[in-house]
Subunit: 191 residues, 2 copies
DNA sequence: GAATACATGTAATCCGTTACATGATTCT
DNA sequence: AGAATCATGTAACGGATTACATGTATTC
């Protein structure tokens, strides 16, 4: 029973497993991607919280606050925790990854070498910028007091996803460099 | 003014830029991800082709075939080609990447070290399997007769996206190995 | 004769984004 | 006084997946 299938629900439960929060705090947290790989707008969060509460996976208490409506603080329930860990242990679905950038690269042969290089340089710059931001957050982690090597501490999962983001971006930059070399070396061979 | 905003439209145009195809052939091609990073079902393709034809970005000729309806072969028009290259040269949108696997890892601290390792091993196996498939296709490219180093040949873009897939999967496997080390080294310290 | 591949569409549903809507508190 | 932030919701729209629907040609 207690069937949350929506992935968003598990993202919210994952946040609430660390500490109770208001809907606003959750939507704040999910504007920048949670775990660097999941984001959602506030218009998704509030209905999702209502659905989770209807399933008794979270519980809310009304606290006073500004605005035309009551401010509610949400906390995960025992049911919610077990639903979350059950999901974690369920088989991982095959990855379906859509990347508009790669779709563009796939048709790159239609562009002139100059235009192609321009596109790849733009992509490279974006990956580098992201890498910088990640490196900064990495320093905050390693110089901070959070126990990032303890697999039972909340910061562990967060740090692991950050590591992945850094690796992925670094690989992307290397690939851009390889592609730029290809475009320069063979760019003026044919007509 | 010939306005395709749908990314799917450009995926279809990208396929038709290489050669004319029927709707069925396009949907076949897009079941396995095009350029390794974009896929679509047939129920998306047929309405999209109709929309592209209404915008005169593709043109169809009826050919006889099986089934209750006419079989149509689609070809890209000059308008379609210029629409596609305009899109290629337009600014790349910031990457929004959703990864359910990473969302799970983010909550990994809730699992026992054993269960956590199990999850990571599963993820690792999937990346390795994909890497094997990519390596096979890589051999077909490099041992084949297609001119993959000529930036003006259709195979160039395809090969570039394959390279990216390989790099990304390899980075993912390395990250899984790092995570498994972390889980083993620090897995039994606390509690 | 049955199963699979060929071939093309529509409908229902779900998920996510953007826009609409309201109003208090805090900071400059 | 005005802007930004806090705070919570609904509505409209668009893209994607799943299910519904139909029927031929080929292969086992």
């Amino acid at each position: 029973m207690a069937t949350v299938t929506r992935t968003l629900g598990f993202a919210v439960l994952g946040l609430l497993a660390k500490q109770p929060r208001t809907g606003y705090e959750i939507s704040r947290a999910m504007q920048r991607p949670v775990g660097y790989f999941w984001s959602a707008g506030h218009s998704q969060i509030y209905p999702e919280l209502a659905a989770l509460e209807a399933d008794r996976l979270v519980r809310s208490t009304i606290i006073s606050g500004p605005g035309p409506r009551d401010t509610k603080r949400y906390a995960i329930t025992a049911r919610g925790s077990s639903s979350l860990t059950t999901w974690l242990k369920s088989p991982v679905p095959p990855e379906t990854y859509k990347d508009e950038l790669m779709l563009r690269v796939w048709s790159l042969w239609l562009l002139s070498p100059d235009d192609a290089r321009e596109l790849v340089r733009e992509v490279r710059a974006e990956h580098l910028a992201a890498l910088d931001a990640y490196a900064f957050e990495d320093q905050e982690f390693t110089h901070g007091r959070e126990r990032i090597t303890d697999p039972a501490a909340p910061a562990f999962g967060e740090y692991a996803t950050l590591r992945y983001g850094m690796l992925r971006r670094r690989a992307s930059v290397e690939w851009c460099d390889w592609l730029l070399t290809q475009l320069s070396e063979h760019g003026n061979e044919t007509t």
